[in-house]
């Protein structure tokens, strides 16, 4: 059985096609999900891609959170379906309160676009089980509102419970508190990160293939739970 991974398109999404390509590259079926849909078409997992949904009006991700398809995804995520939010998708997950904290403007006030070094901290989530803890990877980072913030209690909890998925290393590009680049929920099925693993699946056009593991990981977790 081929795993079916939904990729949502909001008005203003940019990276839905690259995310779908990454899904196909690892041998799964990419299922396009329009923001106005009220049916998840039987997908096994969902990716919320990068971009500028609704022009980042009000706050990044604030309007997309109320899209009809998000109601279904929120319910499915709470029931255990793997959900990955990349960049704007991470912002949507925080606005939806599926993940704690929020993303605000980069500390340097400039758009950041670079090959970013990361350390995988949690290699047991639905989206990172193909890596090993402590592994260093390089994947592209490109955002304006990439500064992860939360109160001290939440930051302590995330670190204490091993819910920091990836951390920025070799420099903090956007002022994110405690160098947090990606986090997960308590169950480990919902992961959000600012860097773009879907842009690092092909050495010809990206920084390498270090991002592939996010997509192979979810297939492994779907097989394991089948």
């Amino acid at each position: 059985m081929t795993a079916r991974v939904g990729v949502v398109t909001f008005p203003g999404s940019l990276d839905d096609r690259d995310a779908a390509r990454a899904v196909r590259t690892v041998g799964a079926e990419a299922v396009p999900l329009w923001h106005g849909e009220r049916d998840l078409h039987g997908v096994d997992a969902v990716i919320l891609p990068g971009g500028f949904s609704y022009g980042d009006y009000l706050r990044a991700g604030a309007i997309a959170r109320f899209a009809p398809v998000m109601e279904l995804i929120t319910g499915a995520a709470m029931a255990g379906m793997p959900v990955l939010g990349i960049c704007n998708g991470f912002q949507v997950l925080c606005e939806s309160h599926l993940l704690p904290g929020a993303l605000v403007g980069n500390a340097g006030r400039k758009f950041v676009c670079k090959a970013q070094r990361l350390e995988v901290k949690n290699a047991s989530t639905a989206w990172t089980n193909g890596y090993h803890a402590g592994q260093g990877i390089t994947i592209p980072l490109k955002n304006m509102d990439g500064c992860y913030v939360a109160d001290e209690h939440t930051l302590d909890e995330l670190e204490g419970e091993g819910r920091v998925v990836v951390k920025y290393i070799e420099g903090n590009p956007n002022g994110s508190y405690r160098n947090m680049a990606g986090i997960t929920n308590k169950a480990g099925n919902v992961v959000g990160l600012m860097p773009h693993p879907e842009h690092a699946i092909d050495s010809l056009t990206g920084t390498g293939e270090d991002g592939l593991g996010f997509f192979t990981s979810v297939l492994s977790s779907l097989v394991a739970s089948a």
Partner: protein
């Protein structure tokens, strides 16, 4: 039905970094204006609502959409 104007002001919580406020503070220095110790940038919303829209509804609008309570606080004036 009469229409009322309701104002909702949203500001970042003190512990949240405000790079835009810091940029404004820096610009004040370059303008040669002294005596300003800190600037925090927020958002100002003006809503035209029917008289029948109660305070609880306004609070819900502010709390669920206009502000993100994780990083911001809001005040309502009507």
């Amino acid at each position: 039905m009469d229409v009322a104007r309701v104002v909702v002001d949203v500001v970042l919580k003190p512990e949240i970094l405000d790079p835009q406020g810091q940029a404004i503070l820096g610009a004040l220095g370059r303008l040669g204006i002294g005596g300003v110790g800190a600037v925090r940038q927020g958002k100002h919303f003006e809503l035209e609502v029917d008289e029948g829209v109660d305070d609880d509804t306004i609070a819900k609008i502010a709390d669920t959409l206009l502000a993100n309570p994780v990083i911001e606080t809001f005040t309502v004036s009507r």
